[in-house]
């Protein structure tokens, strides 16, 4: 699998997208994932773009949290113009972006829970918390390899996105209610889910 698909979506671009998102956030990551791709390539009628890339006159669907993340949702004016292979490649790169966002969130969760005390010990030492963090680490590692070796397999990419939605939620829960603030740490993970909803065709979503 690795040999047959690496030329379609090289591990380098996957790693780069993850790094950009982890370091600079969602808008920068999405920009990297969509290099050379415009809104018309979206599989549905809405495309997620970095706000800076929205064309003048485009119809934008307002969304408060997306605005704060520097992401815009624009109505796609024409039918998708890219092949299924290219679309899957975009999905794989966007998966890497979301991997970076989830890791960024998990890093902040560990900092947050290390500083917090419950029952006389740092909350991060609680077994239920440790289990969640361990699962997050293990699955992000596994998903990175999946995106590298199966970047051309549409079902594998679509399923990776669903798993990333789950992981984003699991990481957000570690913050308690502060993870539910619009200005809180989990906003990027939620908006990244919306971005994926625009760019990735789910397995049972073909109509």
């Amino acid at each position: 699998m690795r040999e047959s698909t690496a030329h379609v979506e090289g591990p380098e671009s996957i790693a780069e997208c993850e790094l950009v998102a982890h370091t600079h956030g969602l808008a920068a990551g999405l920009g990297a994932a969509l290099a050379g791709v415009d809104a018309a390539a979206a599989p549905g009628r809405v495309a997620a773009l970095p706000a800076a890339r929205v064309a003048p006159g485009a119809t934008v669907i307002p969304h408060r949290m997306a605005d704060l993340e520097g992401i815009s949702f624009v109505r796609s004016q024409s039918a998708a113009t890219v092949s299924a292979e290219e679309r899957t490649a975009v999905g794989a790169r966007l998966g890497a972006v979301r991997l970076g966002i989830v890791r960024r969130l998990a890093d902040r969760a560990v900092e947050h829970l290390t500083a917090r005390v419950a029952g006389g010990e740092p909350t991060v030492r609680k077994q239920l918390v440790l289990a969640t963090i361990a699962d997050l680490v293990a699955e992000t590692e596994a998903l990175r390899r999946r995106l590298m070796v199966a970047a051309a397999v549409a079902s594998a990419v679509a399923d990776a996105h669903e798993r990333l939605t789950v992981l984003g939620w699991e990481a957000a829960k570690l913050f308690g209610a502060s993870g539910y603030l619009v200005d809180g740490p989990a906003r990027g993970a939620y908006v990244s889910r919306l971005a994926a909803n625009c760019w990735v065709v789910p397995e049972s979503g073909a109509r």
Partner: protein, 379 residues
């Protein structure tokens, strides 16, 4: 499906709540977009009816249709009603005035005069209430509470501390605030507090979902609390604080579980309407029906044993996770761009996450559910 046969009164309650749900749905997106404008919905007959129905019978100002009058009679009635109401929309439910969670605490801990004061204050239909337990940095760990209720010989008590993620924090006029009078767990007490008051400030926090609740922060800087506003004075010492409110917490958890399930039903209904024959719909419907059976069984268990925290924890853990999971199924079923093209679906995807944080996170619930000791080995 085969399942529980509700008695005729509960079936009627369910049916009237289903009718109200249509009106709630029609207001859902407006409240989400502008939760500060919730007051313009308060005169809606549906919300007025729910306010009265959630008020104990002896404090009701208006007569109610018999069909909804049973709302406060049992945990099962609340469960039946809340599934159907949240199937309309949970966000507008949280924007309504009325006793809400504070009412359950007042019912459990308030003496006759305190209950009278609380419910008479709500009679105008424009009064929001608050239930302030959670604190910044301490989450659901009530025993780590820092807010102090200190005796002041001149005025009774002074309340000092900060509460966070409290519904109606800035707009509430009366409610319940938990604080400690000393270092021990038994010294955690509840007080009936009215706002505005000297030393009090409230501010809303912008939350991702369930925005109608207007969660926020409350700061108390030596707020005067007269002696007769301290709750539980007429109860034995062991029942005055958080343990005395055990039944109230259990009712809250079942009610929140019911609302999570109601939103999950709404998501399923919506997907099936938009895409008849959606893949997985049959399985989803079966899981929802089973979750409703669990909810009803546990509501009956709470009516029989009101202070056992385990059953409500089980159902809240399950229905919250199920609702969150169903948002992902809806995304799959409706395809690319679905969350942006279906604003209700996007809103519900945010709303369901709120239930995780309300009255015990999943991990707190797990600690209630898991047995304290290893199973006994049977030889």
């Amino acid at each position: 499906m085969t399942g529980r046969d509700l008695d005729p009164a509960l079936l009627e309650l369910r049916d009237v709540c289903r009718q109200i749900a249509d009106d709630l749905r029609s207001r859902a997106l407006a409240v989400d977009a502008d939760p500060d404008d919730a007051s313009r919905h308060l005169d809606a007959p549906s919300l007025a009816l729910l306010r009265t129905a959630s008020t104990p019978k002896r404090f009701r100002q208006d007569d109610l249709p018999l069909r909804i009058a049973e709302y406060t009679d049992s945990c099962l009635a609340r469960a039946v009603a809340n599934v159907e109401l949240a199937r309309g929309d949970a966000g507008i439910l949280s924007a309504n005035t009325g006793p809400s969670l504070a009412g359950l605490a007042i019912d459990a801990l308030g003496d006759e005069a305190q209950q009278e004061l609380f419910y008479r204050a709500l009679a105008d239909g424009r009064t929001w209430t608050f239930f302030a337990m959670t604190e910044p940095g301490r989450g659901s760990d009530a025993t780590a509470m820092k807010t102090r209720l200190e005796r002041d010989p001149d005025v009774g008590h002074r309340l000092t501390g900060v509460k966070r993620y409290v519904a109606n924090a800035a707009r509430g006029s009366i409610g319940v605030v938990y604080a400690r009078t000393g270092p021990s767990a038994l010294s955690i007490r509840a007080a009936l507090v009215t706002c505005p008051a000297p030393g009090f400030t409230g501010r809303p926090l912008e939350m991702i979902g369930l925005r109608g609740a207007r969660f926020g922060e409350m700061s108390f800087d030596g707020v005067h609390v007269p002696e007769d506003m301290v709750l539980g004075r007429h109860l034995p010492a062991s029942q005055r604080g958080i343990w005395g409110a055990g039944r109230a917490f259990n009712l809250m958890r079942v009610q929140i579980a019911a609302q999570a399930l109601g939103v999950a039903f709404a998501i399923c209904d919506y997907v099936c309407e938009q895409r008849p024959g959606a893949p997985g719909a049959e399985l989803v419907r079966a899981r929802l029906d089973a979750a409703r059976e669990l909810l009803y069984d546990i509501a009956v268990a709470v009516d029989r044993a009101p202070t056992d925290p385990r059953p409500p924890s089980i159902v809240k853990l399950h229905t919250t996770a199920l609702a969150v999971e169903l948002t992902r199924w809806a995304e799959r079923a409706l395809g690319p761009g679905s969350l942006l093209e279906h604003p209700l679906l996007e809103k519900w995807s945010r709303d369901v996450c709120a239930f995780e944080f309300m009255d015990g996170t999943g991990n707190i619930l797990r600690l209630h559910i898991a047995p304290d000791t290893a199973p006994v080995r049977e030889d």
